[in-house]
């Protein structure tokens, strides 16, 4: 009897310990290391950073990397540009995604499942290849320019690819499903009688939307915006493939510092700063999800 109970608790411990240890080692520990290296000095060595404890055993902390990030205008501009780009893409996704999610949630069940499938489908196709598809559309002799020239709107191809506008399009395109799905989830759950009730009490269709639908979709709006904004901030592939050589967004700068300049401590500092920038939206998202789950119960 006692041994059986012991076996049960043993199982419990294994179930807890295995994923726990895995995450401690491969998720939490790396952040410690990144923090540590961001406080080191770059040296010409393998690996290219100074040890945390110098020869005398004293702790060596070097905040120059962070100071540099604040001093150098380039980095400030990069951060600002990343925020603006991500925000623009988020707003575009919201404007486009809300009516789409609304339309799907209000269609009849069979069409609805097909429409949802078509929203999810691109998600299963390689992200890289979807971004790549835009290269073919936007290029100087791509589909869009060929079409415009065929229409006679322009004689010379318009430069679209390798501009900031292309990055914006790429971001909006890639992250649109992330906006639609949480919005759909809240709109679908909403009691349609509420809108009918508002109209019954004298609200027009538009008034009923702003009085009822919009406030009740808040959780979905927040979740959708965060799910677009957060990854768009750190995006690397889209600015690289669709943006020009000077399209400096944080993700790309981080990558370049690391591989091109081999400045590991600075790259780590850039990563830490990105994380600091994202703490607010991440916390907003998690709070929102927790509240939403509570309400669902």
């Amino acid at each position: 009897m006692a041994s059986l109970i012991k076996k049960d608790t043993l199982w419990r411990h294994i179930t807890v310990l295995v994923p726990y240890l895995w995450l401690l080692v491969f998720f939490l520990l790396p952040f410690g290391i990144i923090l540590k290296i961001s406080l080191a000095e770059p040296v010409l060595a393998q690996p290219p950073f100074s040890p945390t404890f110098d020869e005398t055993g004293a702790l060596s902390v070097n905040t120059d990397n962070f100071a540099f990030l604040f001093r150098d205008k380039l980095y400030a501009l990069t951060y600002l540009k990343s925020v603006l780009m991500a925000a623009a893409a988020t707003i575009c996704c919201l404007l486009l995604g809300f009516p789409i999610a609304y339309g799907i949630a209000r269609s009849d069940p069979r069409t609805r499942s097909l429409l949802l499938l078509l929203i999810v489908l691109p998600f299963w196709i390689s992200f890289l290849l979807r971004v790549y598809a835009w290269m073919g559309l936007l290029g100087n002799y791509g589909v869009i320019n060929n079409f415009l020239m065929w229409l006679g709107i322009t004689a010379q191809p318009i430069q679209i690819l390798y501009t900031d506008f292309a990055i914006f399009l790429g971001l909006a395109y890639s992250y649109l499903p992330f906006m639609i799905l949480p919005l759909y989830a809240t709109l679908e759950r909403m009691d349609l009688d509420l809108v009918d009730a508002a109209m019954d009490l004298g609200a027009s269709r538009t008034t009923a939307f702003w009085d009822i639908t919009w406030p009740l979709a808040r959780a979905g709006v927040i979740a959708g915006c965060m799910l677009v904004f957060i990854p768009a901030m750190g995006e690397y592939v889209i600015p690289y493939l669709l943006g020009g050589p000077d399209a400096l967004l944080i993700g790309r700068v981080l990558f370049d510092e690391f591989y091109v300049n081999r400045d590991w401590p600075l790259a780590s500092a850039v990563a830490i700063m990105l994380l600091v920038l994202l703490v607010v939206p991440i916390v907003v998202l998690q709070r929102n999800q927790a509240r939403d789950e509570e309400q669902a119960i």
Binding site: D191, D193, L194, D196, A197, A198, M199, D200, L201, G202, A203, S204, T207, D211, I212, P215, L216
Partner: protein
């Protein structure tokens, strides 16, 4: 209250509603008088809710017109109709307090804030929600939510109040209590109530008149007593209360009576000839369980219909006793008897040979 009540306050003329190929409502015409508490009764999917939604303005009829108080409202959208609705789900706005919910309709009509405050007070008084006006809807019980929904619909002083299964979400005790409250409020305000329900008991107690619907068609309209005692179709007879039926053919006709030969009754059953039937017509004789007497000895009145049977099963319900009686033909019928005398011993036992009998007047003749 006005003495001259308009008998055609709501006038529904030839209304049909199709969803694709599906006929939700099939050519319904109906008049509802001012100040009535009118029920539309039917099973799920019978079209009763669709009819209510057409009255509210949420659905456009495919054919037909709807008039309210002399005005053709068929093309008027929901938000401009002098009609308000209480939803089955109550549809309380979850992000507004009780007070905000109730005043919503007046705010949309741009009523002045002093008048809003006064009317909110009135209606909160009427439904006795005084202590809850600042609460959020998720802090309310089912009965309180029902009151908020009612208050919110009443505050606009609609000409017609539509109620979609108003009591379905409440438990039994509360339902009975609320039923009478609804009737009182209706009586006090004199507003025309149109109630949709699947619960025949609720319809019987609440309503001045009942319309029974099935498969999109209107089967019968009448006062509760008419619907119960004089059902016109087999469906209505079955749907309202319990009933025993005997299929048969008319064997003979005289001035007043008909004899119907029913195999399952083991002979002829007598009934009044209300439908001008001829010999050989296929009919169905129906009898309510409480109209049947049960006795050990053969009943004396020779006019009565008398059949021998065995008690298969019996149940004591306090005020009533229910018997399942197997007739000699093998058919089982239901009989209910009031327990008039206080007595510890049952007079009739299981497996006992008994007689069942009823007056010819109690036989309902249903023509298919």
């Amino acid at each position: 209250m006005s003495s001259s009540r308009n008998p055609c306050f709501i006038r529904i003329r030839g209304v049909s509603k199709l969803f694709g190929d599906f006929v939700a409502i099939d050519d319904v015409s109906l008049d509802i008088a001012q100040g009535e508490l009118f029920s539309i009764l039917g099973g799920s999917g019978c079209g009763k809710t669709t009819l209510l939604r057409i009255l509210a303005g949420f659905e456009q009829p495919t054919r037909g017109r709807v008039e309210i108080d002399g005005v053709d409202v068929t093309d008027i959208p929901a938000y401009d109709r002098p009609v308000n609705m209480m939803f089955q789900s109550y549809a309380i706005f979850p992000h507004m307090s009780v007070e905000k919910n109730i005043s919503y309709g007046l705010r949309k009509d741009k009523v002045g804030s002093a008048e809003i405050a006064q009317r909110v007070d009135e209606v909160i008084e009427l439904v006795q929600l005084g202590d809850f006006r600042k609460r959020d809807p998720d802090q309310l019980s089912g009965g309180q939510r029902q009151r908020v929904a009612l208050a919110r619909a009443l505050i606009k002083r609609p000409k017609v109040l539509l109620l979609d299964e108003p009591l379905a979400a409440l438990d039994k005790k509360l339902r009975e209590h609320t039923q009478f409250e609804l009737m009182n409020i209706q009586h006090e305000l004199g507003i025309t109530f149109v109630v949709v329900t699947h619960d025949q008991e609720e319809a019987m107690t609440l309503s001045t008149r009942i319309a029974v619907m099935n498969k999109g068609r209107l089967l019968q309209v009448g006062e509760p007593r008419e619907i119960y005692e004089y059902p016109e179709t087999r469906f209505v007879a079955d749907f309202i209360g319990t009933i025993n039926t005997f299929e048969g053919r008319v064997s003979s006709v005289d001035e007043q009576h008909i004899q119907v030969n029913c195999e399952t009754a083991g002979g002829d059953l007598m009934a009044f000839n209300e439908h001008e039937l001829k010999s050989g017509d296929k009919v169905c004789i129906a009898v309510r369980p409480e109209k049947i007497f049960i006795s050990r000895d053969p009943p004396e009145n020779s006019e009565d219909i008398r059949i021998r049977g065995t008690v298969d099963d019996l149940g004591y319900l306090g005020n009533l006793s229910l018997y399942r009686v197997r007739l000699e033909s093998g058919k089982v019928i239901l009989v209910s008897q009031q327990n008039r005398q206080r007595s510890a011993k049952r007079s009739i036992e299981w497996e006992e040979q008994i007689w069942v009998s009823w007056r010819p007047r109690s036989s309902i003749v249903l023509v298919n």
